[in-house]
């Protein structure tokens, strides 16, 4: 059972090697690797469901000497979301990239990115996270440049440089922790870390480094150009998965091993930055002129929501209240993952059919691409947080917790973000539906359109109605991971 943890990292890597060696068969080999990687994650989810949290020591060396991988409730759910979204992107990409040479470039880099995502979600070692982050950053930047335009190249280069700045800051934090404690394993550190100046500085450096990668306001400036200029499947992966993993690592450090180091002031600062991100990102999304740019700005907002949970969770003792709130946090993250991937895949379809993605010229999209428009609408429902989507439940629980803890001021950004989201989603839909004739066919191009639609349905209906199962998994295993 525990073999599924290293397999979740090594199977995408093996796929990356296969597609590197045989670029002409990249599509077939890549799809096989994608299916195998998803199957292993499914196996892992079942294992965690039945046996509780899993940990393996790689190389047979237990901590502190070796590196461990851990699968608890929360990161298993994120892994499952990653696998589903990545599988949908894999199917879609086969149709999106028409050119064999581009496919040959896309597949190995994409599988390396997937391996990095899984490695980071399972990581239990501070330095291992650094290596994983670099793999994520390099593969991500290379993929984002596949668009080929000057704007894409420039945006990817900036993404790469900002990512490097983040990793160096993170690495300095790791060095400080190693100086003070002489070890890197998160589980061991959790038992030993005490509040102090060195620990607080290290946590600040680690958080700052990760915040660059997570695009936490005001370090989000690189995200909109990168995500808007990348090929649609890549944008979907970057927005839905890459930023989320970095945000998850910050939350993991703050709520897990460094919980004793954190102070309410720091948590409130993170929450404030998150709130600023929500308002600013939503506002810029409303003003965006292009569909993909809108989606990219909206990602800044959606990442912001996750950080509003930090001040509410920081001092909370383990118990049902905390589990509920962590569940809500995950529900928001998962819903956004599915919905944003769906939105970008649909936006890519619009761009390929119309030759542009200017929102003001979207007229008649509903007639030409009914399924894609439906996907945009469903994903929009999830981004706004309308019932029955998962983010509706997430926001509701966040609201309840804010009132219960007397931190009612977090309601303001929540409401503002929701209203702005409604405005930017309806702005798109109003344009898309403004012509008369009834469409002939719902689906025009199955392989390209259906993956996004499936993701959007999961975000709205699946997560909303099946949210109970999520808490089931969280309660079954230890909550923190």
């Amino acid at each position: 059972m525990s073999a599924s943890l290293p397999l979740a990292v090594s199977l995408p890597l093996l796929g990356a090697l296969a597609t590197t060696l045989a670029p002409r068969r990249a599509r077939t080999l890549g799809l096989i690797a994608a299916l195998a990687s998803s199957a292993v994650v499914a196996w892992l989810v079942v294992a965690v469901w039945t046996q509780g949290a899993l940990r393996v020591d790689l190389g047979g060396w237990s901590a502190p000497l070796g590196i461990g991988l851990e699968a608890g409730g929360a990161n298993t759910l994120l892994l499952a979301m990653t696998a589903l979204v990545a599988l949908a992107i894999s199917v879609h990409a086969g149709d999106y990239f028409r050119d064999r040479i581009q496919l040959g470039h896309f597949w190995p880099l994409w599988l390396l990115l997937w391996a990095a995502l899984n490695a980071l979600l399972l990581a239990a070692d501070l330095f291992n996270i650094y290596v994983g982050l670099e793999l994520l950053g390099l593969a991500g930047a290379a993929l984002a440049a596949l668009g080929g335009s000057r704007a894409a190249l420039s945006a990817s280069l900036r993404y790469l440089l900002v990512g490097l700045l983040g990793s160096m800051t993170y690495l300095l934090g790791v060095a400080l922790i190693y100086t003070a404690y002489g070890q890197l394993d998160l589980g061991l550190l959790a038992t030993q870390l005490t509040a102090g100046a060195a620990e607080a500085t290290a946590l600040a450096l680690l958080t700052l480094g990760l915040a660059f990668k997570a695009a936490l306001f005001p370090l989000h400036f690189w995200l909109p150009p990168t995500h808007a200029n990348a090929p649609a499947p890549v944008s979907a992966a970057l927005s839905a998965l890459v930023g989320k993993v970095a945000a998850w690592l910050i939350l993991l450090l703050w709520l897990g091993p460094f919980a004793t180091v954190t102070a309410p002031a720091g948590a409130t600062l993170l929450g404030l930055l998150g709130a600023c991100g929500v308002v600013w990102g939503s506002w810029r999304a409303l003003r965006a002129e292009r569909l993909k740019l809108l989606a990219a700005h909206s990602t800044v907002a959606q990442i912001g929501y996750l950080f509003i949970f930090v001040p509410l969770l920081q001092g909370l003792a383990p118990g049902s209240e905390r589990t509920t709130l962590i569940g809500a946090l995950l529900l928001m993250a998962l819903t956004h993952g599915f919905a944003k991937a769906a939105f970008f895949l649909a936006a890519g379809q619009v761009q390929q059919h119309a030759g542009h993605d200017r929102i003001s010229d979207l007229g008649g999209t509903a007639q030409r691409l009914p399924a894609t428009t439906f996907t945009l609408g469903l994903a929009g429902v999830a981004l706004i947080g309308l019932p029955p989507s998962g983010s509706f439940i997430g926001k509701w629980l966040l609201l309840e917790a804010a009132i219960a803890q007397g931190q009612w001021w977090w309601i303001a950004p929540l409401l503002a973000g929701t209203l702005l989201a409604a405005a930017y989603v309806f702005r798109v839909l109003a344009r898309a539906f403004n012509l008369e004739p009834t469409p002939q066919r719902f689906v025009n191009q199955g392989r390209a359109e259906l993956p996004g639609l499936v993701l959007a349905v999961i975000a709205v209906v699946g997560l909303g109605l099946a949210a109970g199962g999520l808490w089931g998994l969280l309660e079954a295993v230890e909550v923190e991971r």
């Binding site: 650094y130 390099l138 000057r150 280069l157 440089l161 690495l171 100086t179 002489g182």
Partner: protein, 98 residues
């Protein structure tokens, strides 16, 4: 040996801060890239310094971390250099970003 170790580690911190300053102040991409590499060298310096353990053999773990870090930094630098070269060939960064 503590003072020497402190000196070496402090030099690492100073290098990191110098690199950070240079990254923030200079606009050309190449200078930013060099600045990041200097920041990296600063952290590697610090790691080497803390590996020192007086009379006992040095701690091998930070040494290994530095080797891993160097290879990662070289890879990232290579990719960034090729990116900026291509961007230069294409006529520089576009005026109107995003």
């Amino acid at each position: 040996m503590i003072p020497l170790q402190a000196l070496y580690g402090s030099a690492g911190v100073v290098l990191f801060v110098l690199g950070l300053w240079s990254f923030l102040v200079h606009a050309p991409l190449l200078r930013k890239l060099i600045a990041i590499n200097i920041m990296g060298s600063g952290v590697f310096h610090l790691l080497i310094a803390i590996a020192e353990r007086g009379t006992e053999p040095p701690d091998p773990v930070p040494h290994a971390l530095v080797l891993t870090g160097i290879v990662v930094a070289v890879s990232a630098t290579a990719l960034a250099l090729v990116f900026s070269r291509r961007l230069e060939d294409a006529g520089g960064p576009p005026e109107d970003e995003c």
